[in-house]
Symmetry: C2
Subunit: 308 residues, 2 copies
């Protein structure tokens, strides 16, 4: 089978750590070009911007955008309108409305748009969803704590308005829980704490509800200095379900479950290959929507100043 | 033609000022019951809560909920799951996600859900939409100023988290602009000012974009003490389009246009009758979505304290 050509835009840390290795090993994709103002990869054709790429490479019909949502929007509109299939890293947009407009542009162009959620890929979340579908879930607790200094050292942009703050990791939890339940929960109360002088929250305490009746408590904390805590716990009819490692491992009443493949980015690119082959789009906006809904109804409080 | 029976839940100011007169004059509807803990209407069967009503009146298949979104959610789920058609006042929910869950419940029950936007009813907004569709729109300015003390005297709940603050009127502007453009704009930047000690914003300065390329500037201000300013201005290929009176009147290059019927609530109930007859739902979440997106990416600033 010939592999399909793909271009990767944005050659930063996540591209080198996750996208490039996944594409190198992929049976589906051949990384045929990069698009980046400052970086390139040995032996791969490099273009400095989306316009130059679209002009030069009509032979590459799929573009993966490993860029932050702000600069990415213009790239995505241009690629879609030029008839290319597009993959977006999570989150699918700075706002839900712009992501919906992208989906509309994909439909008009008759191409695939795939908004990926890497944390919900893999066997653990799929198995958790099966257990919940069969046995139901009552109380769910989301505990999401990590050290912003370890994950984003000196990256002041994480505190710029619109960049989500502690919801940047927290949205992964929402992506897992929405997949696990098969429907999206909505916040009923939220308290967000912003460091003095910063524009995004460093902690969030959220209570959510959903149409199936489960109650969900959620704690997001970027001040944590221990090992990452990325855990979802659910009281189910089959016992206490516990997803750890951001959807990577599954325990039932304390016993780890065999869940098969868990490599997130290879699975993301496998999904992209299937969507392009089938001519389908997959754009689940629920996780970003939950975050937007949290900001909509939250108390916005000021906390201690934050310095790196 | 026999009129179809409808129940009205929530007998407050908006019900008495707008819903009851519209229903009294309606060729489609017969107000057959009220649902309210504290109020009733002379000569109309009264029920104290949704459970008692649903139990007692299987003959009334449509319920209009003139309640605030918080307490309304439970009423709406119960009525839909009992197989009744439901109408919601704007906004359609405290959160977008809960409103989506209601739409899903309506689909499962095979009944109509209608989320009304009274400001976009009437001939002026419809005519504005025609002009924009034909001639295009470039720069749009939303100017929405009113005196919160005049519209919500001593109503401390407007400052409770989740009750939208100045977006409570502002969302009417979003409903008009989304209808006028035929697509939803998204915020690219927003500054929201919260009075010290209050949990919702009193002013908002927002810049929006949309897939058609129009630039939109929006100013919402609840501190205003003059006459209400509820104006949308658009530079169009046909001249300067100006909607005033919250979508009630239309001017083109300064000349008022004849726009036909503008009575908002009679038109809302006419739409409801059509939707129920056709077995359709109409739930446009774009205006609430735009508000949620504004909160998502805004700078949240503290301003002067507010006292009544």
């Amino acid at each position: 089978m010939t592999r399909r050509k793909i271009a990767l835009a944005g050659i930063g840390k996540i591209a080198r750590d996750a996208h490039v290795p996944a594409l190198s090993d992929s049976p589906d994709w051949e990384l045929a070009a990069t698009i980046s103002r400052h970086n390139s990869l040995d032996g791969i054709d490099a273009y400095e911007g989306i316009d130059a790429f679209l002009e030069a490479r009509p032979d590459i019909d799929t573009v993966s955008l490993a860029l932050p949502p702000g600069p990415r929007l213009d790239y995505a509109f241009k690629a879609l309108r030029a008839g290319r299939h597009v993959m977006l890293e999570k989150p699918p947009g700075r706002t839900v409305t712009e992501a919906r407009a992208l989906l509309e542009a994909a439909r008009e162009a008759g191409v695939t748009l795939y908004a990926s959620w890497h944390s919900r890929q893999g066997g653990a979340v799929a198995r958790a969803a099966e257990i919940v579908a069969e046995h139901g879930a009552r109380h769910i607790e989301i505990d999401w704590r990590e050290d912003v200094r370890a994950h984003h050292p000196d990256q002041d942009w994480v505190w710029d308005a619109g960049n989500l703050g502690v919801f940047d990791p927290g949205i992964n939890a929402f992506s897992i829980v929405a997949r696990m339940l098969g429907r999206a929960p909505w916040p009923v109360s939220a308290v967000l704490t912003y460091p003095q002088g910063r524009e995004t929250p460093i902690t969030a305490e959220i209570a959510l509800a959903e149409a199936g009746g489960a109650r969900i408590d959620c704690r997001l904390d970027w001040r944590w200095t221990g090992e990452d805590v990325w855990t979802v716990e659910a009281q189910t009819g089959a016992g206490l379900l516990r997803l750890t490692d951001s959807g990577g491992r599954l325990f039932l009443d304390g016993t780890e479950q065999e869940v098969g493949e868990t490599a997130e980015y290879p699975l993301v690119y496998e999904t992209l290959a299937r969507l392009v082959a089938e001519g389908e789009s997959e754009v689940d906006l629920a996780p970003l929507q939950i975050a937007a809904d949290c900001f909509l109804l939250a108390r916005h409080e000021r906390g201690e100043p934050f310095e790196w």
